[in-house]
């Protein structure tokens, strides 16, 4: 693959890389017959971003430059840091760079960025390819009930009312208004945190369709990154979302040359209020719900499919609900640290405790929740208490692949 990016578009590409850098540490590049895709996934696998650059984004685009027979498209994974180095200052890039050439050879181990700057300066970045695989998340953005198109400034203005320390935001969408709230973690002492809430009227948005009133919570860090992206490119932002637990998709596109999708996992609202509400439900209801949630998880499983490559293994939980971790023993490698095993055991223990608590609550309505040491346990095993946490995510991370493929 070989392509040329004209000076003005280099800035867009730079902005893209900077936005993606706020998401993940690795950048996946895939070249198809008529477009180039950049993707990234954050470490917690709760946020995913994909930016598609169409053929007409480039001044020259030859997909089959090295004339290989392979029609699958070229894929590569590079580290985000090296990509950032190439696009150091996106604000001034369009003034300095006249042309950018990107070359990717199926055989090579380097991705080449060649920046032709003013005064005949040529900067060439040889970026090491870490892997020749691609990764893809499957999500729905078209058949969702809730869609909002927002001018780029409104949401970032609204977010300016929040504190720097806030890390999650809750969005409550009703037909009358959109309420943004900072999400306050139960573990944090509520006497220390400011709770802020902003009400936006539908009239402020370009379009506003709420088919199903809902409340979703997602991370602010990635949200701010994508808002910054939309603002830098002066393009409106489209929000597509369903209900709690299903991914929210944010789309920025200029109609012709590129389209960016940012997918954020949403979590359940306050588990405390949930807990109190569940205490009052009857046994039958609960079992029904359980059935339903099991079905849900089964149904939602194919929601995220992996590409031909196995970058995200079957146990990837991106945007899925996992209710109760199955008691499965993930085969561990022989040389595994015993310490690590211990940690896993404790995690399993905690999960067990959790489950037993639930079953107790099922039998009798008025048993108070078992006392948990507020601070230590929750801060150490914080993620275990998150509603969408999947312990397999910890176990499933393969740092080094088996050299022996048995």
């Amino acid at each position: 693959m070989k392509c040329h990016v004209p000076g003005a578009n280099v800035k867009v590409l730079g902005r893209t890389v900077h936005a993606l850098a706020r998401f993940g540490d690795e950048l996946y590049l895939e070249s198809l017959a008529d477009c180039i895709l950049l993707r990234t996934l954050n470490a917690a696998e709760s946020a995913y971003a994909m930016v598609k650059f169409n053929k007409n984004f480039f001044s020259y685009f030859n997909y089959n430059y090295y004339s290989t027979d392979d029609n699958e498209g070229l894929k590569c994974k590079i580290s985000m840091k090296s990509a950032l180095n190439t696009f150091k200052s996106p604000t001034h890039m369009d003034k300095q760079v006249e042309n950018l050439e990107i070359k990717l050879d199926a055989e090579a181990c380097k991705l080449i960025f060649q920046l032709k700057c003013k005064h005949g300066i040529v900067k060439t970045h040889y970026v090491s390819i870490l892997d020749s695989k691609a990764m893809q998340a499957v999500y729905t953005k078209d058949s969702v009930p809730n869609r909002i198109t927002s001018p780029q400034r409104i949401l970032s203005e609204a977010l300016s009312n929040f504190q720097q320390s806030d890390d999650q935001v809750t969005l409550e969408a009703t037909e009358q208004s959109l309420v943004l709230r900072n999400y306050v973690d139960l573990n944090i002492e509520f006497t220390k945190v400011i709770r802020s809430q902003i009400t936006l009227k539908p009239a402020e948005f370009d379009s506003y369709t709420i088919g199903e009133e809902t409340t979703i919570t997602f991370t602010l860090k990635e949200f701010k990154a994508l808002l910054g992206f939309a603002e830098a490119l002066n393009l409106p932002l489209q929000l597509h979302f369903e209900t709690t637990g299903r991914p929210a998709v944010f789309i920025v596109h200029n109609g012709s040359t590129f389209e960016a999708h940012f997918v954020l996992a949403t979590s359940k609202p306050d588990s405390a209020t949930q807990a109190t509400s569940t205490q009052n439900t009857t046994k039958a209801e609960r079992s029904k719900r359980k059935d339903k949630s099991v079905q849900d998880s089964v149904r939602k499983k194919p929601h995220l499919e992996t590409d031909t490559s196995k970058c995200l293994d079957e146990d990837s939980h991106l945007f899925n609900f996992i209710d109760i971790p199955e008691d499965e023993n993930i085969p561990t490698e022989n040389g595994n640290d015993t310490k690590l095993n211990n940690v896993r055991n404790t995690i399993d223990d905690i999960n067990c405790v959790d489950i037993t608590n639930n079953s107790q609550a099922m039998d009798c309505d008025n048993i108070p929740p078992s006392p948990t040491s507020k601070k230590i346990i929750k801060s150490i095993f914080k993620r275990c208490f998150e509603s969408t946490f999947d312990p397999r995510a910890i176990q499933g991370v393969v740092l080094v692949e088996n050299s022996d493929s048995e």
């Binding site: 203005e157 300016s160 809430q197 902003i198 402020e204």
Partner: protein, 292 residues
């Protein structure tokens, strides 16, 4: 206990936001005392337990608020004392500069809170935006009220007008980079001298022609520390050595539109910096002198 007030004028809202921002720079925590006539912001020295306040700020409610209702603890104790993290308050009030109205009230939501309801115009459309902040506060029990009494100030030996705060601040900040303590010397002839001394240099800045508002008689200089300027009458000069950082912090108050700043010095003991605005807001800062 009840407290509810509304602000609708742009000027006072900007002022209020500036005052809180200044206080938040001076201290992490402050005490908000609500009385029928005035709002007080009181800052005590964090390290030294119950000591007299270092900052005392009075805001007359009538000029700031269009509505103001409060009911105190009981008939005998008509005030409310709240402990607030000043940065929280300041950060939430940043947007006040462009807001249309502010409603501030004491609420109970899981814990006692000051609820700020800010109504601000949207930049892009005609719609109004409603922002609500719940800032957790601690209601101070009556037995601790005495810690926040207005400090009893010894009668100052001299009260002298301060030069423009911005100018003074740049000077102090330069000096602060070199030494941690600064000697303030005020003379009855309207001279104010700031002096630092390091191993390498002695730096002094003199401001002349300042109005002296009060002078409490001859000063006795007992030791050799004060260097005589030959042509000056030492009995008409008052000095005090203070922490340069504390002095500089007060000067950040220059963003509050003020019409009078006065520096009062109790010889070798205390420096009182007082700032007054048109709306009769009075901010007083007490910096105790360092004596060797």
């Amino acid at each position: 206990m009840k407290f509810r007030c509304v602000m609708i004028d742009a000027g006072p809202m900007r002022e209020f936001s500036n005052i809180v921002a200044t206080i938040s720079k001076l201290s992490k925590e402050c005490v908000l005392r609500v009385t029928a006539e005035q709002l007080y912001f009181i800052v005590c020295d964090e390290n030294n337990g119950p000591t007299p306040p270092v900052l005392w700020c009075e805001i007359p409610q009538a000029l700031f608020f269009s509505e103001y209702q409060m009911v105190g603890l009981d008939d005998e104790h008509k005030d409310i004392y709240l402990e607030v993290i000043s940065v929280n308050l300041a950060k939430s009030l940043v947007t006040l500069k462009s807001a249309k109205s502010l409603k501030m009230k004491l609420t109970k939501k899981q814990c006692p809170c000051i609820t700020l309801e800010i109504e601000s115009p949207s930049a892009t459309s005609q719609q109004m935006r409603h922002v609500t902040h719940d800032i957790p506060v601690i209601v101070i029990p009556r037995m601790r009220w005495s810690e926040f009494n207005e400090p009893k100030i010894p009668y100052p030996d001299i009260s002298i007008e301060l030069p423009p705060l911005k100018q003074l601040r740049t000077t102090i900040d330069r000096m602060r980079a070199m030494a941690s303590e600064v000697v303030i010397r005020a003379s009855a002839e309207g001279r104010l001298t700031l002096q630092i001394r390091t191993d390498m240099a002695k730096v002094s800045t003199r401001f002349k022609g300042l109005t002296v508002e009060a002078f409490g008689g001859p000063i006795e200089h007992s030791d050799s520390e004060t260097e005589t300027q030959i042509n000056e009458d030492m009995s008409r000069i008052c000095t005090c050595r203070v922490d340069a950082k504390k002095f500089s912090l007060f000067l950040s108050a220059d963003q509050i539109a003020h019409n009078r700043t006065v520096c009062s010095v109790v010889h070798k003991k205390l420096v009182i910096l007082c700032l007054q605005t048109q709306e009769n807001v009075k901010i007083q800062c007490f910096i105790s002198g360092i004596v060797y």
